[in-house]
Subunit: 204 residues, 2 copies
DNA sequence: GTCTATACTCGGATAGAC
DNA sequence: GTCTATCCGAGTATAGAC
């Protein structure tokens, strides 16, 4: 069926182009013309596939958020011991983000811009719930197997050290002068370094 | 001189309004009408004070970056021992950002958007140079007074744990349901918690 | 300095031919 | 499905009165 294949291909090119432009410039900065150019089509055809900018944006944003968040719960809720959970989290999350290094800033921006819309449109029921992990932390503290620290603080430390480098990459590149390749190597190392760093800190 | 006071006051109101709008919506999302409304004037008067949006934005952005970056070097270059330097850094940086919690995301965005412009317009000679701090770390590692870790990695851990919570605040608020007041308390605690966390990790 | 009215530009969206 | 041409609103910027 020639027609259908062609449709799919154009639609696919549009989505790819839109992702690139939206993630790079944000909703407000992105231009439908940019997306059309990137996809190798014209604006009219773009509107043929997606009624308006808003709708196209929602699609992309949902895709992005879906890539970043839902997998978290699998790790959060698993029955692994605390240290292993931390190791797995770092390993898997950094791996995913290496493939989409600009997503974190994009998503954080849009959450900040309009938290309510985010909850309504994106988190329709299954938002990240680190509660089990946090209980696990509290329990270990109580048992005395790790040093005293509040679960929120530990969770912040963990997520910050994993996510922030992606958000602040250009800043790091400017200040300490690392290039693309070096950045990748650093992030690769962080998959094991961050868990080690944390465990060294909280282990008694 | 009545006229001059009035000038200053209007200009001041404009700058305050512009800061609020730009930081909240970014360059692309901000509307001159929003800024005018926020300042209690009309668009024409806004253009009387600032020829165009671009110029007004540069002013605000420069102000923001000036608030965030230059002080860093004072700490970076000081002669304090490593642990004290880390403590001071966390304490001072969190204090500054508590007063302007939305600046970090704003600045990171604009650096990402256009790194070259940032270097040209903002960092005219005195960008952050953590090199001395990094050498200090290397030296301590070599002396064997702290565990083996690369300076870049430690610097990333430090900056991530301090800055990221501001950038990701809405995300934390949505996922773990903390409110404004709780966030402030958490950040207050982090002034000492983060240095302690780091030192516990790298101390032999 | 401050306002109202208006010119101009950009970009999202549509009409209509093929 | 895809294109060219065009419309139209939003938003920046200016002219000119007070």
């Amino acid at each position: 069926m020639v027609k259908k294949d062609k449709d799919a291909s154009t639609q696919e090119r549009i989505l790819l182009a839109a992702k690139k432009v939206f993630v790079g410039k944000g909703m407000a900065g992105a231009r439908m013309q940019d997306i059309a150019d990137e996809a190798g089509i014209n604006k009219a055809l773009l509107h043929y596939y997606f009624k308006n900018k808003e709708q196209l944006f929602e699609k992309i944003f949902q895709e992005a958020a879906t890539l970043l968040f839902p997998k978290l719960n699998i790790i959060f809720d698993s029955d692994l011991p605390l240290f292993e959970k931390i190791e797995k989290f770092a390993e898997e999350y950094i791996t995913v983000m290496m493939l989409n290094p600009f997503l974190p800033l994009f998503v954080l921006n849009e959450i900040t811009r309009d938290p309510n819309n985010f909850v309504k449109k994106i988190w329709t029921g299954d938002k990240p719930h680190p509660q089990k992990l946090m209980q696990q932390i509290d329990k270990e503290v109580k048992k005395g197997t790790i040093k005293k620290i509040s679960a929120v603080q530990l969770l912040m430390n963990l997520t910050a050290m994993i996510i922030f480098p992606f958000v602040a990459r250009p800043m790091y590149q400017l200040t300490i002068g690392i290039n693309e390749k070096e950045f990748r190597a650093i992030m690769e190392e962080r998959k094991t370094l961050v868990p080690k760093f944390i465990i060294d800190s909280i282990r008694k």
